[in-house]
């Protein structure tokens, strides 16, 4: 069974994300310590709220280095909302220094008629990606945030989708097996469940290359 590590660092509700991934046939491991990452096939970093306290909690739990190592190894990763924003260099919200996996910053939504941006909005794809397989272009997903990642120079290939709220912002990214979404798939009805199932499928494919049988994990 595909094992998904969901990083639990006290940044929001994990019940729905757990349930949605389980519905897609994954086994969920809640990760509060790095050791719990052993045997996982993929990692999900959820989260809402501000970047600085989130980074502080990740560091306190010794999770920053293992997350960076996981991404550097090209293993399947999905960041949700704050989990996407943390991938960039830093956040304007509280001047937090974040993971720095991708160049760019998290900035306040420009020209927004109202903030926070709360509710269902259209995710307009720039290109096809297996994460969105079976989901209509411009489908509605649920957002709740005031800041969004602004990818820096040389990251045009990273942008997967955009959304308009006054100005336009990046609502999904992907590079290799790294992916992130600004919306909440676990709160986005059937399309959200589909997206998470697609991620589980990608993790399964990455974990079991064709022609290879995985050895059963030892001593859980």
């Amino acid at each position: 069974m595909t094992r998904i590590a969901v990083v639990d660092y006290g940044a929001g509700n994990l019940v729905s994300i757990e349930q949605a991934l389980a519905a897609a046939g994954a086994e969920i491991v809640l990760v509060r310590r790095a050791e719990a990452l052993a045997d996982a096939d993929a990692m999900v970093v959820p989260g809402v709220g501000a970047a600085a306290p989130a980074m502080a909690r990740l560091r306190r739990r010794g999770l920053e280095a293992p997350i960076l190592a996981w991404i550097a190894a090209g293993r399947p990763f999905l960041g949700i909302c704050l989990g996407l924003q943390l991938l960039f260099d830093g956040s304007d919200e509280d001047d937090a220094v974040t993971l720095g996996v991708l160049p760019g910053r998290t900035v306040r939504l420009a020209d927004a008629p109202r903030l926070p941006h709360i509710g269902w909005n259209q995710v307009e794809r720039r290109r096809a990606h297996p994460l969105f397989a079976g989901i209509e272009d411009d489908a509605d997903f649920y957002f709740v945030h005031s800041y969004a990642a602004a990818p820096g120079p040389g990251t045009d290939d990273v942008i997967l989708a955009e959304t308009a709220h006054g100005g336009r912002f990046v609502s999904a990214i992907a590079r290799g097996s790294l992916a992130g979404v600004q919306f909440h798939p676990e709160r986005s009805g059937s399309d959200g469940l589909r997206l998470l199932a697609n991620f589980v499928g990608l993790a399964r494919a990455a974990g079991s290359p064709p022609g290879l049988t995985r050895a059963p994990a030892l001593a859980r």
Binding site: G12, N13, V48, G189
Partner: protein, 263 residues
């Protein structure tokens, strides 16, 4: 484009959905998660639970209901009623809610709003404002007063001033209920809604007075609401969520239409 949300509100007491008039003559209407899932399937953009159970020990029951809901209905869930501390809010979020709505507790201690927003982010903090017109129903110049305890207790606070203060303290949304209209079916108080929506940058959720889909249109067009909440018209199945959204869409309001729910 951001959709205008349609939000059914369920009154919950002792782990059950109840119906009644102003907290009296309550009747049992079913299992909250089951109803929430049904509404989600019909196109509800969020669900609100209002915990009207003042009984001690009722919190455990509520948390269990929240968790069962989060496992079944994959739309956002807001819980209002009875949360008085950061710790209590943490428990409700951990059980699976996305937002907590504060009413009386916020009026008594605006610092609670600030502490909860700092800990969980403004997006998780809703301040519910129950407002009553100060003078005759057609004299908006007199303004509105904030009332608490389901409208039984006046506070002397001006509703518009309180709205600004609540947002400054960290509220990410305001849920504005006209106590004059609540339960009357006379339509939302669009003058009140517009007065508040013009003063704050956060989304305003309209509440109190809906009797049909046209009221939802007015709350958005005239009141400037970002979301519209109703209870009884959905529970009594006078109108489905899909009916309401179809009328809103026909009026040019952007709504999320869910496949298979056409009116």
């Amino acid at each position: 484009m951001l959709r205008v949300r349609v939000i059914p509100c369920l009154d919950v007491a002792d782990g059950r959905v109840v119906k009644g008039t102003r907290f009296v003559d309550l009747t049992d209407e079913g299992d909250p998660p089951e109803l929430a899932e049904r509404y989600a399937a019909e196109g509800a953009d969020e669900i609100v639970y209002l915990d009207i159970d003042a009984a001690p020990g009722g919190r455990g029951t509520l948390l269990e209901v929240v968790e069962r809901t989060a496992r079944r209905a994959f739309v956002p869930l807001t819980v209002g009623g009875g949360v008085r501390s950061v710790t209590e809010m943490r428990d409700v979020l951990r059980a699976g809610a996305d937002k907590v709505s504060f009413n009386t507790a916020a009026v008594r201690d605006p610092g609670l709003v600030r502490r909860c927003a700092r800990r969980f982010g403004s997006q998780a903090v809703v301040v519910a404002i129950d407002a009553r017109r100060r003078a005759g129903p057609d004299d908006p110049g007199a303004g509105w007063e904030v009332v608490v305890k389901g409208g039984r207790e006046a506070t002397g606070l001006d509703a518009l001033a309180w709205a600004e203060l609540a947002v400054a303290a960290g509220a990410g949304e305001l849920l504005v209920t006209s106590i004059d209209r609540d339960g009357t079916g006379a339509g939302y108080d669009t003058v009140l809604l517009r007065a508040i929506a013009d003063r704050v940058q956060v989304p305003v959720i309209a509440s109190g007075g809906a009797s049909g889909p046209d009221d939802f249109v007015a709350a958005v067009r005239d009141g400037g609401a970002s979301a519209v909440l109703a209870a009884s018209i959905f529970h009594r199945r006078r109108h489905s969520i899909a009916d309401v959204k179809a009328v809103m869409a026909a009026a040019g309001i952007p709504v999320r239409l869910v496949a298979g729910t056409a009116a």
